[in-house]
């Protein structure tokens, strides 16, 4: 620090102007802001501005062209009282999220328990289980999924050949089963929470298990009294993450069923897209976007508020 200051005082006489500029650039406060400047600019331009302007648009009727026409709370009223399709899409989304998130995490945890030990073969298994997560979100997989569960699909023919089903049936084309195929696709991608769990399991000190063995605890007891409490921070992290991405799901439902049949798979974002970009009701779409923000924020807030009841942070 002292060295810096004396250097700049030497420079002072010669180039006072540039030296004060220099000092400013190297001032710690400013240095910090220089580094995070891209984030601040991006945040203002790509997040704050769109957020506020969509709030404004949500009170208007707007087709994307011309000037938005102020209609007050009409969009919100329409959503909850006049648009049964919206209510349906809300229901579908909740069913989707509340089925796939717990199942995906449960599978992830079970498989992580099996695979926590090292070894080459286990590592190869891990890779196989993780692969679907890597490619599962792509259009390519959605295209295949459509065929697998379709009228002429493998699943169909397989169930018939083992005698579980009598005639051909399109899982995707029927409103009772369409959502299930999309939920299964989502559960199939349990690889990334699995890796997070494996990392967490490795962090649990062996001494805890050893002590429990000495005290005569069996495997089941060890799982509930040691493994689960130690994993709660990771479960929490995964829950928040998966919940949010669940509400954002779009590509799969859009490609596989396009929201149909009879809106049975009309996930929130698919409906939002349809309203905003195929019928160009951008005011209504903005209102839907805001309700989604509120829903996700409330759910996240609920999760965070229950945190100190069940999440156990070791050293605190």
């Amino acid at each position: 620090m002292r060295y810096k200051r004396s250097e700049s005082s030497v420079l002072k006489n010669k180039k006072q102007c540039s030296s004060s500029l220099r000092r400013r650039i190297y001032n710690e406060n400013i240095v910090g802001y220089v580094f995070i400047a891209p984030f601040i600019i991006g945040f203002l331009v790509f997040t704050v501005y769109p957020l506020l302007s969509s709030l404004y648009l949500s009170f208007t009727k707007f087709s994307g062209l011309g000037t938005p026409e102020w209609i007050g709370l009409l969009n919100y009223k329409r959503m909850f009282f006049l648009d049964p399709r919206y209510i349906k899409s809300l229901k579908v989304t909740f069913v989707y999220v509340f089925i796939y998130v717990p199942l995906r995490l449960t599978f992830a945890l079970i498989v992580a328990m099996l695979f926590k030990a090292g070894g080459r073969i286990i590592a190869a298994y891990r890779t196989m289980f993780y692969l679907p997560s890597v490619i599962g979100g792509s259009v390519a997989v959605a295209v295949v999924w459509r065929q697998l569960w379709g009228y002429d699909g493998v699943i169909n023919r397989f169930l018939i050949s083992i005698g579980l089903m009598e005639e051909q049936f399109s899982f995707i084309g029927s409103k009772e089963t369409a959502l299930m195929t999309i939920i299964i696709l989502a559960i199939w991608q349990f690889g990334s929470p699995m890796l997070v769990f494996i990392a967490g399991l490795k962090d649990i000190p062996m001494s805890l298990y050893e002590a429990a063995t000495v005290d005569g605890a069996n495997g089941w007891k060890k799982f509930w009294k040691i493994t689960m409490p130690c994993l709660t921070p990771i479960i929490f992290f995964n829950l928040v993450n998966q919940l949010i991405s669940g509400f954002m799901a779009f590509t799969q439902a859009f490609i596989i069923t396009r929201g149909g049949p009879n809106d049975a798979t009309m996930l929130y974002v698919v409906y939002l897209y349809e309203k905003s970009f195929t019928t160009f009701q951008m005011g209504y779409g903005s209102a839907m976007a805001w309700v989604l923000i509120v829903i996700v924020s409330i759910l996240t807030a609920i999760l965070f508020s229950t945190q100190n009841k069940w999440v156990y942070y070791g050293n605190e």
Partner: protein
Amino acid sequence: MNYTTKKIIKKIIFHVFILAICMLMIYPILYMFFGSFKTQQDIFQNPTSLFPEKWHFKNYVNGWKGFGGTTFSTFFKNSIFITIIAVFGQVASSAVIAYGFARCRFKGKTIWFSIMIITMLMPQQVLIIPQYIMFNSFGWVNTWLPLIMPGFFGYPFFIFLVYQFIRRLPEELDESAYIDGCSKYTIFFRIVLPLIKPALITSMIFATYWKWDDFFGPMIYLTDIKKYTISVALKMFTDPAAQSDWGAAYAMACLSLAPVVIIFFTFQKYLVEGISTTGLKG
């Protein structure tokens, strides 16, 4: 039966069981791969058999022809270009920002950091309408700019990933360089940047996946088929208007996944590490 044979049998049962589940897990992927070598007739007549009756390579030729005179070489070129530029922008800017958060002391840092975390959790799709209107007013609709530019202003997930990584580097490194007269900027470029390579590689892999697979953005912003990325092009196979040639769809789907799968197998180690560092307390 003695103890060791029992153990071996147990092990065998475990592996058989896991292998069966493994097969189930990757069955759809294998199905797509082998399906890409089946004739249309083969696909419909023997859907339950995994392997093609006769290996048939024509699907790749037919699929590559694309739609309305635009071939898959255009789509691939577009996707590659967008992915490279966008990934570079996301990772480079995120590294700079992460350094600011991890190693500089400045007023308001906690506030900005929490804002960053909130943006990381914020559902991006809810911003799509106003962003679309904004990009439209810039004249950016039907260009690649909306897909590329936002990345140059940092990507919260990668900022967080690199941040966690920098925090684990010993601070003495920075301090000794500082005493030697290095500024924060020099420290970043000369000392920190080379050390955070693993975190940058991890970020790059994730960024590549996400950009390559991105469907929502390209679908909304691109209207001219010549500018389409692979994901939007693949979707055209499912359009009701298109005569559905499943073999060709599988063939192109396989090709579209090839880069992702190759990167996955090459850089697996970094991926696993990346997931463990961001997923945890740090």
